[in-house]
Amino acid sequence: MAKRKPSVNTENLTAVQLMELDSCSRCGECVNWCPTYDAAGQDPGLAPRDKILRWREFMNKSYGLRARLFGPKEIPEEDIEKFKDDVYKCTTCGMCATVCESAINTVELWESMRANLVKRGNGPFGKQGAFLKLIGQYKNPYMEDNKNRVNWFPKDVKVEDKAEILYFGGCTAELKQRKLALATARLLNKLGIKFTMLGEDEICCGSALIRTGQYFINDTAKVNAQKNIDNIKAKGAKTVLYACAGCYRASLIDWPRLTGQKLPFKVVHITQFLQELIEKGDIKWEKSIDKKVTYHDPCHLGRHVGVFEPPRAVLKAIPGIELVEMDRIEENQRCCGAGGGVKAGVPDLALGVASTRVEDALATKADLLSSACPFCKRNLSDGRDAIGAKQLEVEDVVVLAAQAMGIDLSDSPE
């Protein structure tokens, strides 16, 4: 009799990741810190520890000792479907990786599991399935004409055709949260820094596809990353600035991995760039922003790549701002809830996590909750509205810096 086929395969999982499944000591630290587990009413299926246990059981049933001796044991399809649902209810914030005593790189593990499940026909989750089509057709996930990325810039904004510095605006800032894109452009103009942009040649950085396990389909993410790299090179850029944490992380970590090559330019977040200028004394503040401000570290800028200090340095330098910290900051920060495709796939869960984060901010008695990522700003604003905390302003660090430099943003389209 022919042996039964294994119910799961190991597509998209690396050999080290399969080993990591055996390295979980089930200490439970990840469960204590997971924002989605918490926001979902402590649903055991969402606990990172539980996900590792279940996939390890899938592996052992398919390829363990018993499977080798007597053939693989069938895993009910509903178990795999339930697992898929749970693994997609994760913002890939990386808190579990930070506290993991075994140092399991859980973010990469969830993303690989998602890719595996997409390949198997289970994933992605809900509306995330539209990302590939939208990005393929529109080059952005917002169904916007790609020409609209920067053609709305007011006439005073000067963008060079070619320059050594390029501002990679990102889909969210250029198409949805335009105040940030305008603030960045005008701020660079005011500093006398010549910069260029990709405009309609800019393509989604791929973060949405990578985080939801769809990056490999038709090699879309790889092709787009390469096109972006080529277009950036063609603009003569040596330094690329990002005001979006998601694009920054994708460029810094995912593009070299997808293309298999080192980037031919330097990847810099705008807050790192501003911090350097502040330290050199090149920024002249014209206005005081008399507010108590707290700062939310975006996962993709903080925990994932370790940029914690620059946004704080910018806030501290702005006249009038009193920076107050929330309890959970920097590497222990609580996620805003938008990442990992959760905002699109499981909006209620995203809102629940955001509401908790807004409550963290309210506990500091801050007037304003700032961040350095338009996607965080969007979800934190939604969280603020959901709990009715109208008094709390939510704004990007770059917008605050621009305002303090006397830049008028009243004409920015929202």
Partner: protein, 262 residues
């Protein structure tokens, strides 16, 4: 040659018995690790690449990750080995009590393992020298003398190990959150470790007539010693690849692969 010699001729444990058991345990361990390496090797040697299926896939990917630049905590192998693997600072950061529990178990277990290996080495030296007709060994290399030398350190590390085990049992039984999340996978590890440690104390207690012997007849020392040795070999060597004991191998590898973690 006798092992745990000097109790009675009838119940004396022979070196051959223990060597057979040890070889069997090591054999099972090797087969288990081969199966694990094959299982891990079902993964790829790079992100987004096709599954390898080669037994070399795991060491290849491990070497690749260890040589890559990490954006956070890009620390050296030495730092990872000393601070994260030996000192276990990631546990300390999260919970000093849990670190103390785990560190005493780890330290006690490793020290006893090393002392057992040293005892075994001395027995081997003695055996070989007897066969070769060499009688000029230093006095401490005689098994009876060396065993006495190890008596105090054995006691110290056994109590260190026992301290950790008691804390672990307490947590599993009386801390609600831990108790509720405990599954058989966790229990087997702790039960095995407890049985090994207690039988070790009892075997030694019967032989030496101390507290842990509970006034049991001295003739029971060899079978208890044999039981202790057999379950130690089975649990602490043979069972490693098939149970939570695998974490002793997998966690240091994960720490090395991820440069001590995020």
């Amino acid at each position: 040659m006798d092992y745990f010699a000097g109790v009675s001729d009838a119940l004396r444990l022979t070196f051959v018995q223990v060597m057979i058991m040890a070889s069997l345990s090591i054999g099972i361990f090797i087969i288990g690790m081969y199966i694990n390496l094959k299982k891990w090797g079902m993964g790829s040697t790079g992100y987004g690449q096709q599954p390898s299926g080669s037994i070399l896939a795991f060491p290849t990917m491990l070497a690749k990750q260890m040589s890559e630049h990490a954006h956070v905590h890009n620390q050296s192998v030495l730092e990872t080995f000393v601070l994260d693997i030996l000192f276990q600072r990631r546990i300390l950061r999260r919970s000093p009590l849990r670190w103390f529990m785990h560190f005493t178990i780890f330290f006690g277990w490793m020290a006893l393992f090393v002392l057992s290996l040293a005892m075994f080495a001395v027995e081997m030296v003695h055996l070989i020298s007897e066969r070769l007709g060499v009688h000029a060994l230093p006095e401490f290399l005689y098994p009876e003398v060396f065993r006495e030398l190890l008596a105090v350190p054995n006691d110290i590390f056994s109590y260190i190990l026992l301290t950790g085990i008691i804390i672990a049992i307490y947590r599993r039984l009386f801390v609600a959150k831990v108790r509720e999340s405990t599954i058989a996978y966790d229990s087997v590890l702790l039960i095995g470790l407890t049985v090994i440690t207690i039988t070790g104390f009892i075997a030694d207690g019967i032989r030496t007539g101390r507290f842990w012997g509970f006034d049991m007849p001295v003739e029971w020392a060899p079978p208890m010693a044999l039981f202790h040795v057999v379950i130690s070999l089975l649990f602490c060597i043979a069972y490693i690849p098939f149970s939570k004991y695998i974490h002793m191998i997998a966690i240091p590898l994960a720490l090395l692969a991820n440069k001590g973690g995020e």
